[in-house]
């Protein structure tokens, strides 16, 4: 019994879900949904997700989107234990705060800075780059207090954040001044199950995509 997974490999939110599924041993039925070709607007997909975004899952009739909601759902439903998303309310609140930080601040600012350039032909706005630096500074501060993003164990907070941060890494954003982020990246790359398969090789697909879009610009 597999879960249908609508995705493209380069997308950070999709990679975060893939990291989670591998860590849980949950089998995904991969359905490439090329959003560059507008596949998300096809009627069959709109029936599953009227907001027409990826990643989307369909768990045997139950459809869900928003990567971090999917990640939480997979652990809540299929986790053999709660280590990736602790049930303890205080520990969970820290994971949640890091996840919302990724969604609403860090990944948001990555998208604000890069996507108008890559996908809509705009010029880079230096003020938006500064906002990314500010967000990375916050993350660096969070990581000064613990090994992983939300404490001493790997959680889905790390998985969503590593998908985002490696996206910055692969487009040569300079992370070198963020010592705690550098340390943490290394730890997560070594310890996240199936890291290479779920994120290591797929983030290169993002790089290939943007290199192609930026050719001659």
């Amino acid at each position: 019994m597999t879960i249908d997974f609508y995705y493209i490999p380069g997308s950070a939110p999709c990679r975060a879900v893939m990291l989670t599924a591998i860590a849980l041993g949950v089998e995904l039925n991969y359905k490439l949904t090329d959003v560059m070709e507008g596949k998300q607007f096809e009627p069959e997909f709109l029936k599953i997700n009227p907001q027409h975004t990826i990643p989307t899952i369909n768990d045997n009739g139950f459809s869900l989107w928003e990567s971090r909601a999917i990640m939480g759902y997979l652990v809540n439903k299929y986790g053999k234990d709660d280590s990736l998303y602790p049930k303890d309310p205080v520990k969970r609140a820290v994971v949640d705060q890091r996840m919302f930080f990724d969604l609403g601040t860090l990944y948001q600012r990555l998208a604000d800075y890069y996507y108008p350039v890559y996908f809509a032909g705009a010029a880079f706005d230096p003020e938006k780059k500064t906002k990314i630096m500010d967000a990375l500074q916050f993350l660096d501060t969070f990581l000064s207090k613990s090994t992983y993003a939300a404490g001493e164990q790997l959680t889905i907070a790390d998985l969503t954040l590593v998908a985002t941060v490696t996206t910055l890494e692969v487009v040569d954003f300079d992370l070198s001044s963020f010592k705690n982020i550098i340390r943490w990246l290394d730890v997560v790359k070594k310890n996240a199950p199936g890291y290479e398969e779920a994120n290591g090789k797929n983030v290169l697909a993002f790089k290939a995509l943007v290199d192609n879009l930026m050719k001659g610009r």
Partner: protein, 220 residues
């Protein structure tokens, strides 16, 4: 020691946190942090929350920020039942998707319109930004199709979060009447969310007034 909420009434996410406290019948010490006066940057507050944002909640030894993480935490700890944030994984996932939609799509599009007016001296609103917000409200209308509330049959923290966000832009003058599901739901929320007038409407009105005072006429 009890619960302290660091709060700024004009801020929609901050009002969401306060509304959840009210919905759970919690006695909370509210400390105002005036973002217009940049009080969040005071060293004492940065010590509590290095990301210096509101709302921030302290409960005994623990400190939590991000309104929707606060909302989930409060129900997880203090809810007499799980109706505001169901424990069932599928039901919870739908609430989470709506919360993430608010955090990652709806509220950023509201902020994209209002933040430059409030803080960067802009007096006009880009047509693209207007269209973007209309699209987000359109999605809300779809989520509500066949549902009483945002995530199903009952009021949840998804309704509280989204109602707080929407109330900000409505207070600036945005017209949601074209979206019949959203309009009906919003009217219902303003009556059914406990403490809505004092914990949300007052602050939303302050926000609306602040933005309108800086906008050129006829923008909305």
């Amino acid at each position: 020691m009890g619960i302290t909420l660091y709060h700024f009434p004009p801020s929609a996410p901050s009002r969401c946190a306060l509304l959840v406290c009210k919905a759970l019948g919690l006695d909370v010490d509210v400390q105002i942090v005036d973002l217009f006066a940049k009080e969040q940057l005071k060293p004492d507050f940065v010590q509590i929350n290095p990301q210096h944002c509101v709302p921030t909640l302290t409960d005994g030894d623990c400190t939590i920020w991000e309104s929707r993480a606060i909302a989930s935490y409060l129900v997880n700890v203090y809810g007499k039942d799980d109706s505001l944030y169901p424990k069932d994984p599928k039901q919870r996932a739908i609430v989470d998707q709506r919360l993430h939609f608010d955090c990652g799509t709806l509220y950023p599009r509201i902020r994209a319109i209002c933040f430059p007016v409030l803080f960067l001296g802009e007096v006009e609103i880009d047509e693209d930004k207007k269209a973007s917000l209309e699209e987000a409200i359109g999605f809300l209308d779809i989520f509500l199709e066949g549902n009483n509330f945002m995530a199903g049959t009952n009021l949840t923290i998804a309704d509280i979060s989204i109602a707080a966000s929407l109330s900000s832009i409505i207070a600036v003058g945005w017209d949601i009447s074209a979206y019949s599901n959203v309009a009906a739901w919003f009217a219902k929320c303003s009556l059914e969310i406990p403490g809505y007038v004092e914990a949300n409407q007052t602050g939303a009105d302050q926000f609306g007034k602040a933005v309108k005072s800086k906008l050129a006429p006829g923008q909305i």
